[in-house]
Symmetry: C2
Subunit: 424 residues, 2 copies
């Protein structure tokens, strides 16, 4: 892993994948086809892209029961414990409606309600992670969403979804599971078909076609942030264990070659030891090839001349995951403004959050921690403003409101308040 002196400011050139013209055309044409032909289009695309001929779009109760038999009991109990932890943390995110009152009798407030229906996209293949199902479904369920629809492409060999995904979905509270993936699944969730009523929001990662389709339907429904490759930044000083830091960097690097693992440290010795440990541990990993490519392409150890400079670099990177393994790590954490999740101290290794502790692992990637947040209960509620204006307030202020409206040349607005003064 290469070691670089940290320059006063890290310059990061970010951009987003907008797809090729060809990919964009494919996506708009699939969406318009699903709008027109509904379920039949879903069946046709599933045959074409997934090589599966479905007799039923939906996963049946029997298939879910079968899935429980295919996953071993210890795993089921671990999923259950993780589910409880995730639910506990997310329940603390619940928000209450509120009202305030002014001395003139006017009352204002904010009413919180849950979304009615949401859709979760689960990618096919090896990226169909049961942990991701928990992380997407539980916040919606805690928010009070009544209808939670999972969509995912069926596996070519079995025509089914992976058993562990079905178990996690069932445990977390999914109410419908649909065996459809790709842009066609996104179109079905946004516009509805004969058998799938539309939802209000779509979350979950996917390939470029899924990402483009989400961008396209944004506005008809809400979507979560479009996810990029995963990243970790470890901020460490001489007190950290090189072996542990290296292990954490590699746990990110094994995701895929585009993942990035970065160490920012004030210790030259730690830098050198981590570089060695990464090399040593790499050669024993089953996904060595992927991890090695990620480390070579995107891995870097920045040597900072002070902790202050190091913290500033972390804020510029705005990482998805940040681990702080330093003396007095909690104080250092106070200086962090931009990071999806902040893991503090030696035992707070990233996989603790990926799977088990209860925080959400759906986190802002590609520097979007500058403006977006971990998936949370907030993503599945919405607010309505409440206005109860008093007679006294209207008498006091009607003329001012009317003047403001007339300043904007909106006469009917002015009259709507003035007419209140005329009444009996």
């Amino acid at each position: 892993m290469r070691i670089e002196q940290l320059s006063s400011s890290i310059s990061i050139k970010r951009d987003i994948d907008q797809g090729t013209e060809e990919q964009r055309k494919v996506v708009t044409s699939i969406i318009s086809d699903v709008k027109t032909r509904g379920d039949q289009a879903l069946l046709d695309y599933t045959q074409k892209f997934d090589g599966v001929t479905l007799s039923n779009l939906f996963v049946t109760k029997e298939e879910i029961e079968e899935a429980y038999k295919l996953v071993d009991d210890e795993m089921i109990s671990i999923i259950k414990e993780a589910t409880d932890n995730i639910r506990e943390y997310h329940e603390l995110q619940r928000r209450e409606s509120w009202m305030m009152e002014r001395s003139d009798g006017t009352r204002l407030g904010q009413k919180i309600t849950s979304l009615d229906a949401v859709g979760l996209y689960v990618p096919g293949g090896t990226a169909a992670y049961p942990s991701s199902v928990l992380m997407n479904v539980i916040p919606a369920q805690v928010a009070g969403v009544e209808r939670i629809v999972l969509v995912s492409p069926p596996q070519r060999e079995t025509g089914m979804l992976p058993p562990a995904v079905l178990v996690a979905a069932d445990m977390a509270g999914v109410t419908e599971m649909v065996k459809v993936g790709g842009a066609q699944a996104i179109a079905a969730l946004a516009y509805g078909t004969e058998s799938i009523p539309p939802v209000d929001k779509i979350t979950g990662p996917g390939n470029i076609y899924v990402a483009l389709a989400k961008r396209e339907v944004f506005g008809m429904v809400d979507i979560d942030m479009i996810a990029g490759p995963s990243e970790i930044v470890v901020l460490a000083d001489e007190t950290a264990s090189a072996a542990e830091v290296a292990a954490d960097l590699l746990s990110q690097a094994e995701h895929d070659a585009l993942s990035s693992a970065v160490l920012v440290t004030t210790s030259k010795r730690l830098a050198e030891n981590v570089a060695e440990e990464v090399e040593a541990q790499l050669s024993t990993l089953p996904r060595e090839e992927i991890a090695r490519e990620s480390i070579e392409q995107n891995g870097v150890i920045y040597l900072a001349s002070s902790m202050q400079e190091a913290v500033q670099a972390v804020n510029s990177l705005a990482p998805e995951h940040l681990e702080i393994m330093t003396d007095d790590a909690e104080s250092i954490a106070e200086g962090i403004r931009h990071a999806g999740a902040i893991f503090i101290g030696r035992y707070s290794s990233e996989p603790v959050g990926d799977y088990f502790v209860g925080t959400n692992h759906v986190l802002p990637t590609n520097g979007t921690a500058r403006f977006s947040s971990p998936l949370s209960v907030d993503d599945f509620i919405k607010k309505s403003s409440i206005i109860i204006y008093s007679k006294e307030a209207m008498e006091q202020n009607a003329a001012k409101i009317a003047s403001f409206a007339r300043e904007e040349k909106l006469e009917a607005h002015a009259r709507a308040v003035e007419i209140r003064l005329k009444g009996e």
Copy 2:
């Protein structure tokens, strides 16, 4: 205004404006040009589209001082009072970071920080509303955003922005004002130029080019919901005043021909009286032509056979603005799940919220109240998860976390937790 019996379910066919192929091409080419040529591209497009040759992209301090002289003192004091009211309401939306602790010593939490920089788009022409400036800027300012950049096309005649817009922007706390509009302004905010550092989020309405550009840069920066035409639904019974209901419907209709004004009522007599009043009041409005077209195209009075049926209809419509003028209006409001703002009682006329009372007038349109919310302080903060895992918890759970990771075939994740058990 036509009167219709409410059928058991209102069927609403919604869609979003994705622009024409030509418009989409124009937008992607402008964005890529601004990315390449920066400020010079902004100057060129402003000359081409707005007919103004700028010597300086930024509004100067002198121009702001001049604007204060051009707006009359009474208006300035009304803007000031509105600003105070809006700030008071939005300060109640502030949120605190929190931590929880488990018996094994693990601590989890959520850290709240503001965005660093945001951009506000203000449309040109008659839609350059000072009230909208207040509504977009104040929540950002209350959230703690340090850099608030306003962008708006200069007026052809003066080369300036409207004085009342400059005054509102200055009062609310805008830190930079840029005389550029259109897709080029959105590109500059998202990617930055030599003189305009990029922002983290862009809010504010605009024409189809602005809307498409916002959709295109979403992911580089956050954006607010893409706004459609404004709508009001009034829910009223026989206790409401027909003249007041009509005035409120017309205040929506005067915005533009695409606006929609709907009355849902259980009273046949009110329905008939409102239809008459609308006609009578229409003929006296300066914007009669626009309001008449809106009422004719999109205005409707639904006659419901029960209040329960009426409430259900309102929830299907998920209106931007809802007024409830009925007996015991507060109880009726409890049944409303989907509405941007709920105005309760006779004195809660929509313009009260548009201008003055303190709630935000940037509200979800086109049925998006099903999943989105009034603009608020929440839109200008983000959250980071905090994880402080204890040694005891790691000893207890490392094996389970490792099993979960291996279920997902992520061996390096498993080892990252297991290595913590080996340490000194």
